[in-house]
């Protein structure tokens, strides 16, 4: 029988290698998925440019961060990028409003088929992706500074006397707190403010909303602004955590879409829940449980192999498998989003 400390150690092991990373990545996905689902609900199309727009904001953040760092301005143990973030958000708002004005608006006015607008978003994806690579190149950039950990594994072990340590990275801490605040704000906005309610009405039944006197241009503008805020923050948080590389942002598109569909397309809470479903599935299914089982099982049953369900290379494939399964079995998603 495993001793009490063994059990605690096993739990801490999972917390450190599965729970915390999944929580952090899930929050980043959730914010991005929230942006996707808002565009889908209000503007009625799947925005394939989402990943690269996140990259765009992150690039702006990185450039301003470098500028600040060169001028000697930092934020102590917090990453300097946080200071740059507001400017990046403004830049992103301008960018998405411009793309809407010059590209998407035309198709809206024409009442084009959704697939046409999706293809247009593919064009925007190309342009934005090219822009991002043109500015920063294809390589990996680390722009997080300040303290790396809030609590290091060593400190934790010293505090608790356990064999396993639970480290909390600054980026993880930031991600989770900012995500909670932001999501709270978005829900407050959607439920309690006049504009938020107008957005929801417009998303629900466009014609009826217009008849009730809701200004469609304002709704569209506010939606894009909200999307820009979510996109920028999600992008920067992801970049602080994992570093910036243009291709990885583009690849986030699929887990985000998976999160949106799993949660129920068009449903904000679905997007958030979906984000965590995806991130936790990836973490749980690709973790090597060897050490965990060694803690819990008597010596006789302890495993030799890594005890991994799927190799880490399949991390991406997992969100797609979940996506495909959901599309087949329950296409409306967990929170019964828009019907197919």
């Amino acid at each position: 029988m495993p001793g009490f400390t063994d059990i605690i150690n096993a739990i801490v092991l999972l917390l450190n290698f599965v729970f915390m990373p999944a929580l952090s990545y899930g929050s980043q996905l959730a914010l991005g998925a929230l942006a996707v689902t808002l565009v889908y609900a209000v503007l009625k199309f799947a925005n394939f440019a989402q990943g690269d727009t996140m990259a765009f904001s992150t690039v702006i953040t990185i450039l301003i961060t470098w500028l600040l760092q060169k001028s000697g301005i930092t934020l102590g143990f917090m990453p300097t990028a946080l200071l740059a973030l507001p400017f990046a958000i403004i830049a992103c708002i301008i960018y998405v409003l411009l793309t809407d004005k010059f590209i998407y608006q035309y198709y809206r006015k024409q009442n084009s088929k959704p697939i046409t607008i999706v293809m247009a978003s593919v064009g925007v994806m190309f342009v934005t992706g090219g822009l991002v690579r043109f500015i920063l190149g294809p390589t990996h950039h680390i722009f997080a500074d300040g303290a790396r950990f809030i609590i290091t594994a060593r400190e934790f072990k010293a505090m608790t006397g356990l064999a396993e340590g639970l480290a909390i990275k600054t980026s993880q801490f930031l991600t989770i707190t900012i995500a909670i605040l932001l999501v709270g704000f978005v829900f407050y906005f959607l439920q309690k403010t006049k504009t938020g309610k107008a957005m929801r009405a417009y998303a629900d039944n466009k014609d009826l909303a217009l008849l009730s006197g809701i200004d469609p241009d304002k709704v569209v503008r506010v939606t894009w602004m909200l999307v820009a805020v979510l996109t920028s923050i999600a992008g920067v948080l992801y970049g602080l955590d994992k570093g910036f590389m243009a291709t990885s942002y583009n690849q986030l598109l699929l887990p985000m879409f998976a999160a949106v569909i799993v949660g129920g397309i068009g449903s904000p809470i679905g997007a958030i829940v979906g984000g965590f479903v995806i991130s936790f599935s990836e973490a749980i299914l690709t973790y090597a449980y060897k050490k965990f089982l060694i803690y819990l099982l008597p010596a006789v049953l302890q495993p030799d192999s890594l005890v991994q369900f799927l190799g880490t290379e399949y991390k991406f494939a997992i969100s797609f498998v979940i996506l495909v399964i959901v599309l087949l079995l329950r296409p409306t998603g967990i929170f019964k989003g828009k019907v197919i």
Binding site: F45, A46, I103, Y106, K113, P114, I115, T116, V118, M119, A120, V122, G123, V124, M125, F126, V127, T128, G129, G130, L131, R133, F134, I135, G137, P138, N250, Q251, L253, L254, F257, A258, I261, S305, G311, E313, Y314, F316, A317, S319, F320, V321, L323, V324, L327, L328, P331, I340
Partner: protein, 452 residues
């Protein structure tokens, strides 16, 4: 001559002219390379266009089918590695059979008994049994000479056969995928097909025992002669000696032999590429002819009716789902064939290069710009966009060079611009797509049947 026919002639002449320019200005080898890849792109585009133009299916998972085609080239034409087969072949077969059995059984149990727990139990049992056989098999296969093989090898058959097998393999996969996902709305279908193609590519990349994964398979057998053999062929030497007699005469005798040799090696490269071009054109023509025949028949009329109005077509007895599935399978099969052709041409299978998002959307640009629903449009789109994509890199570089020529070599801005100039082509391609979609959504060669 009708407006449309005039357009066709003009566009094809422009394409021919562009290739001619590259041949004269840069090199014939380059021009033929571009031509060959254009031909392959045109075939890929045709596959996608048939799905989109005739059934309105937005298939973003093209790369998966292309990869399956490439996989067949490996599995058909490479020699089999008997050591690996004896080491783990049987067990792998057992593992795969159990895997398939689990899936079939779970579906059957779900349909017959509707008991969720039974299905989950079956899946879990199947998973663990499969895993038991699979892990041992994979490890033993990959242990055989991992640096040079580490996989099961192929069937040692002619590589051209793989072009057909690739099509069949892709068709089979498309049938399965189509059965599952064709009921979905267009943009859901896009995401589902993208997801599935990512899964296929992930499997190919990671299952080393199958095709060496990201270690790549090289030296894939050819259907055309090797340059080295051509260089030593007597008839090649004689023809070139005659062709270049004039210019060789002008050189001092001591240099004539080396000059001739240079001509021969260039010619060998060009000849090989021409052989490929011949093969590719043959395949392209075959597909276009078959597609044309099908469209100009009651089958084509039925497909057009379904596209016009699915509900009415169904009321008039046409099985819309079956038709969509058929078209999905045909289009994907064509993509599979092009995948096999690509890997044959490159002589190697590099799973890491199948980046779904990038190349899939490039093909969609080809479809849209060329003219969706028009087979000739696909060819035009395939050519033009691939040409632009390839030439945009050196042109972008040249532009960056020109615009910063006043800055000195080590200048940071200049360095940066030169390094990243290649990404301008992404911006450019996106802009092309946006402009065409906005101002000429029917593409360069619009579909002839659509106008009222």
């Amino acid at each position: 001559m009708s407006q449309y026919n005039k357009r066709v002639i003009v566009t094809f002449s422009i394409m021919f002219f562009l290739l001619l320019m590259v041949g004269l200005g840069q090199s014939w080898s380059l021009s033929l390379s571009i031509l060959n890849l254009c031909l392959i792109s045109a075939i890929m585009t045709l596959g996608v266009n048939i799905q989109w133009g005739y059934a309105g299916l937005f298939n973003v998972g093209i790369m998966g089918f292309t990869a399956l085609g490439g996989l067949s080239a490996v599995l058909i034409s490479k020699e089999s590695i008997s050591k690996a087969v004896t080491a783990g072949g049987m067990r792998m077969l057992v593992a795969l059979s159990i895997f398939l059995l689990t899936i079939v059984l779970s579906i059957y149990i779900y349909k017959k008994f509707k008991n969720k727990w039974l299905v989950i139990a079956t899946i879990l049992a199947g998973y663990f049994i499969t895993r038991y056989f699979y892990i041992e098999a994979a490890q033993s296969i990959e242990a055989i000479n991992p640096a040079f093989s580490g996989y099961l090898g192929g069937l040692d058959l002619p590589v051209l056969l793989s072009w057909i097998v690739g099509g069949l393999l892709a068709a089979g996969a498309a049938w399965l995928i189509g059965k599952i996902s064709l009921g979905l709305r267009t943009d859901y279908l896009a995401i589902a097909t993208l997801g599935i193609s990512e899964i296929i590519i992930a499997i190919i990349k990671n299952e080393d025992w199958l095709s060496r994964g990201v270690k790549n398979v090289t030296a894939i057998p050819r259907p055309v002669p090797y340059e080295i053999d051509l260089q030593q062929a007597v008839w090649v030497k004689e023809i070139l000696a005659k062709l270049y007699a004039g210019s060789l005469h002008l050189l001092p005798v001591s240099e004539q032999a080396t000059a001739l040799k240079a001509h021969i090696s260039d010619a060998a490269i060009v000849l090989v590429k021409l052989c490929y071009s011949g093969l590719f054109v043959a395949v392209l023509l075959l597909i276009i002819i078959l597609a044309g025949l099908a469209l100009d028949s009651p089958w084509g009329r039925m497909v057009r009716a379904i596209r016009d109005n699915e509900i009415a077509a169904s009321a008039m007895g046409k099985n819309v789902k079956q038709r969509h599935l058929q078209i999905f399978v045909i289009g994907s099969a064509i993509a599979g064939v092009s995948g096999a052709m690509l890997v044959t041409y490159n002589g190697q299978f590099t799973p890491g290069s199948y980046i779904p998002l990038r190349y899939t959307f490039l093909i969609w640009v080809m479809v849209i710009v060329g003219g969706s629903g028009n087979n000739l449009g696909s060819v035009v789109g395939g050519f033009l966009i691939w040409f632009l994509w390839i030439e945009a890199e050196p042109v972008g570089f040249w532009l960056a060079d020109l615009s910063t020529s006043f800055l000195d070599q080590g200048n940071f801005i200049r360095q940066h611009l030169l390094e990243n100039a290649q990404y301008i082509r992404l911006i450019f391609m996106g802009a092309v797509l946006l402009v065409v979609m906005r101002f000429s959504p029917d593409g360069i060669l619009p579909e002839t049947n659509k106008k009222l």
